[in-house]
């Protein structure tokens, strides 16, 4: 590679938001005719880097050069005009327009202001033929599959003489054959000399197509590697890192003994539970008093498993039993009826009602279960709220202020309190410690231990392996929307072992590398 000039270089890019340093001196190089995977976990800075590149955000420091010229785009439009086009995860086209229009809208061929439809269709057909896609371009885009829509988006992007094509998680809703179609086109474009930045969470896909990999973690550059020289395990390690800093409370619960719990009666048994396009059928058993950790990279299907177990999404495969009896969890109400609670990872959109007060948010689920005709007496509300505001040390301790005015950690505690007062038997926590400060994090971890000691089952989802290892009796490992294996969290299990499993997708006995 050294003989060639990079088409794009980003040098020492920094970007801060109030309270968080999203990018810290990141370097990035992209050569013509390569597929370059940009990898990193949640908060690593991938999205920010791309947004800085395309001008959505301005950068605080650093230089971007495109083909040797220093550039600074005002927005995605200007970036596209200069040859840096982006195709997003969700297809950002109009399903109600024809394929041809979606490729050319805004740049239609015209005579005296009138669009030349014939020529537009012909050019659309030619362009798609270049991508080896032969479809009827007069049909509405919405009548085609997501994969085809994705390719039409790519066609639109490359028609603007693209030199750099950014594919931001283009495969997250595609199935295997669709992914293969997409890869064919990516290879085709690569061979034409276009440089492709490929963002994905699927390890197999990275090794299937990428020439080089750049890994980011916590806003910093970890490194840039040729794919062939970076084994999967090494990649996972570089993405997740080893954060052994918050270990004070680890000792007492270092290895939680799972045997006696496993011997007890199971609380919930999922058998071949699955949903098409979301998560491959899996089986999972959770016992009373057991903490089951769900490990895996972002996008590996962790949240999807949680949503199925709570009835937030409806499963189209398999069955669930609670206390040994069949319990179809069709919707959240059904799950709540079986004493299952769920704290979503998206606190603001799926958890709290921002306008309502802390008190109202805390009693919401309990009130919903009682029905609106049987209000919880105000005295009882105040007792409950007081108890949990104190127990979880929610700050500020005024239960009447709108919950949106609280910090992230306190919002998380409010959401926890909402479910704790319903005294669930299974608590599903999806990324409960994300985006909150270290103190609140430790408090929530302690709480999980206390709850499970009290007999509550907990499904604990976290991107941080250390946290999962510390708290769980059993760890279920997810990879590419599949539950690949379950590990009993005994002395043989450590972060390396889990990472190996994530990386290889199989259960290894020894420390061999895939």
């Amino acid at each position: 590679m050294s003989g060639r000039q990079p088409v794009l270089t980003m040098t020492a890019i920094s970007k801060s938001f109030p309270g968080v340093r999203a990018l810290d001196g990141v370097d990035f190089r992209l050569f013509p005719g390569e597929v370059h995977a940009l990898m990193g976990e949640n908060g690593a800075g991938k999205s920010t880097l791309i947004k800085v590149l395309t001008g959505v955000y301005g950068n605080d420091a650093g230089v971007i050069s495109l083909a040797g010229q220093q550039v600074s785009f005002s927005g995605p439009m200007q970036a596209a005009a200069a040859g840096v086009s982006t195709v997003y995860q969700e297809v950002n086209l109009c399903a109600n327009l024809s394929v041809a229009e979606n490729i050319f809208i805004g740049r239609e061929p015209r005579t005296l202001g009138a669009i030349r439809w014939g020529e537009m269709r012909r050019r659309a057909r030619d362009l798609l033929a270049r991508l080896d896609l032969h479809i009827d371009v007069t049909q509405l885009l919405g009548t085609y599959s997501l994969a085809v829509q994705q390719m039409v988006a790519i066609a639109r992007a490359i028609d603007i003489q693209a030199r750099v094509l950014i594919l931001d998680e283009p495969t997250s809703s595609l199935d295997a054959t669709e992914v293969e179609q997409l890869f064919r086109i990516m290879r085709h474009l690569r061979d034409e000399g276009i440089a492709i930045i490929f963002v994905t969470h699927f390890l197999d896909q990275v090794y299937g197509i990428a020439d080089r990999i750049t890994v980011l973690r916590n806003g910093r550059l970890v490194g840039e590697y040729p794919t062939a020289e970076l084994p999967q395990l090494a990649l996972v390690e570089k993405m997740i890192g080893k954060e052994l800093d918050v270990l004070e409370s680890l000792d007492e619960h270092a290895k939680r003994d799972a045997r006696e719990i496993e011997a007890g009666t199971p609380f919930l048994q999922a058998e071949e539970l699955g949903r098409k396009g979301s998560v491959t059928p899996f089986s999972l058993t959770i016992h009373a008093g057991e903490v089951v950790g769900l490990a895996g990279l972002l996008g590996s299907g962790r949240t999807e498993v949680a949503r199925l177990l709570f009835g937030a999404d409806r499963a189209d495969h398999g069955k669930v039993a609670v206390d040994g009896k069949s319990a179809p969890l069709r919707n959240p109400i059904a799950a709540i009826g079986h004493d299952i609670a769920f704290c979503s990872e998206n606190r603001r959109t799926e958890g709290l009602v921002g306008e309502l007060s802390v008190r109202e948010n805390i009693i919401l689920a309990m009130q919903a279960a009682r029905g609106w005709l049987r209000p919880i007496p105000r005295r009882r509300q105040d007792e409950l709220v007081d108890k949990y505001v104190k127990a979880l040390s929610i700050r500020p301790a005024d239960p009447e202020i709108p919950v949106r005015n609280l910090s992230g950690g306190n919002q998380q505690k409010v959401l926890l309190a909402r479910w704790l007062i319903t005294e669930p038997r299974l608590l599903i926590l999806d990324e409960p410690t994300r985006g909150i400060d270290v103190g609140a994090k430790a408090e929530i971890q302690k709480l999980v231990v206390q709850l499970s000691d009290g007999g509550m089952a907990v499904l604990f989802i976290s991107a941080e392996l250390e946290e999962v290892l510390r708290l769980s009796h059993k760890i279920a490992v997810m990879r590419d929307r599949q539950l690949v294996t379950e590990l009993v969290n005994d002395h043989t299990v450590d972060a390396d072992r889990v990472m190996q499993t994530i990386a290889s997708g199989t259960h290894h006995e020894g420390p061999e590398v895939a």
Binding site: P76, M77, A80, Y88, V91, N92, L93, C94, A95, N96, L97, E101, I105, G106, E108, R110, G113, A114, I115, W117, L133, H134, I135, D136, Q139, L140, G142, T143, Y144, S145, L146, A147, V148, R156, S173, D175, T177, E178, K276, G277
Partner: protein, 329 residues
């Protein structure tokens, strides 16, 4: 999730889904016409159809403007009031002795200006179109009575000649000049929607505003433009109405916005935007006109049945849209 095949999913006997509502309206219209012809001998007279156009020419023009607005996913409640305001203003200016040409120019400027302002408020301050055009409706209706509390007759020779001119055989089958103007508006409207960037941007905006933004389309300009266009169409409609009634009355065209919205929806335009045709709107206006004609011919049915039938059709077409929407997912 849709299927993985490369071929589009087609059903409805190979009729593309986007044409289903329009075809449903066309079928409905033909059935209603057939019923009319079979029940009343005079119904088969060609002049009956011409009269439908003559009586609903201004409605048609306003409906074309509304089609633009609804295609973007918006709504314009001010049209009825703007029609009345334009008619009032023309009548008042003519009464004051102003030159008809100047009156036409002024009348045609006020509607679009109000529309432009409403569009600006909708776009820049992100207030729902419903509320903004409601204020526009209040404003224009208030202007009517501000101009005059009672109806003003129009005696201007140009206006009367426009009102009385019959095109075709004056003793046989004829249409008024208003019908021709309405046709010109329909053709221009259809052309703009199908063959100009503005028109295609209207569809894109109604399909997915977020995508339209990311594709670099001028979302704000388009949004403001459709309300200005609707204002222009209302102004033209107001002038046609003043040709038709030869007066300006402060309480004329009250509730017309509902008829217009109903016509557009029955014509197959989806209220959430992004799908529909001016041709469908023409059919929708015709359906409304034929219902009124049928009820007039019947004699035993009363005028309120018009509203009930329109409400029923509105329900049927909204349900149809909803079903097609579900099928897509």
């Amino acid at each position: 999730m849709t299927t993985t095949s490369l071929t589009p999913t087609r059903d409805w006997w190979r009729i593309p889904q986007r044409y289903v509502p329009v075809l449903a309206t066309l079928t409905l219209l033909l059935v209603m016409y057939a019923v009319g012809v079979s029940q009343y001998r005079a119904f088969s007279n060609v002049q009956v159809i011409f009269n439908v156009f003559i009586d609903n020419g201004f409605l048609l023009v306003v409906a074309v403007g509304m089609t633009f607005v609804i295609l973007t996913g918006g709504i314009d409640l001010s049209v009825g009031s703007v029609v009345a305001m334009t008619a009032m203003m023309s009548a008042s200016l003519l009464q004051g002795g102003m030159d008809p040409a100047a009156v036409l120019v002024i009348a045609l400027l006020v509607g679009p200006t109000l529309g432009f302002l409403m569009g600006c408020v909708i776009h820049f301050f992100e207030i729902q179109p419903f509320i903004v055009t409601l204020a526009g409706m209040f404003f224009a209706r208030g202007m009517c009575t501000f101009i005059s509390k009672s109806s003003i007759p129009i005696t201007d020779p140009f206006w009367t000649s426009m009102a009385q001119e019959r095109i075709g055989d004056p003793r046989g089958n004829f249409v008024s000049i208003s019908v021709l103007i309405a046709f010109v508006v329909v053709v221009v409207g259809a052309f703009v929607l199908a063959y100009t960037r503005l028109g295609r941007n209207v569809y894109a905006l109604g399909g997915n505003q977020q995508s339209a933004l990311l594709m670099g389309l001028p979302v704000g300009q388009t949004k403001i433009a459709v309300y200005a266009i609707s204002g222009l169409c209302s102004a033209i409609g107001g002038i046609l109405l003043s040709f038709y009634t030869l007066s300006g009355a402060p309480l004329i065209a009250v509730g017309m916005e509902l008829d217009v919205i109903a016509a557009v929806v029955i014509g197959g335009t989806v209220l959430t935007g992004g799908s529909g045709y001016v041709f469908g709107t023409v059919l929708g206006v015709l359906v409304l006109g034929v219902i009124r004609t049928l009820i007039t011919f019947d004699g035993s049915l009363n005028s309120w049945w018009t509203k009930i039938v329109i409400g029923g059709l509105l329900f049927a077409f909204i349900l149809l849209q909803r079903l097609i929407g579900i099928r897509k997912k």
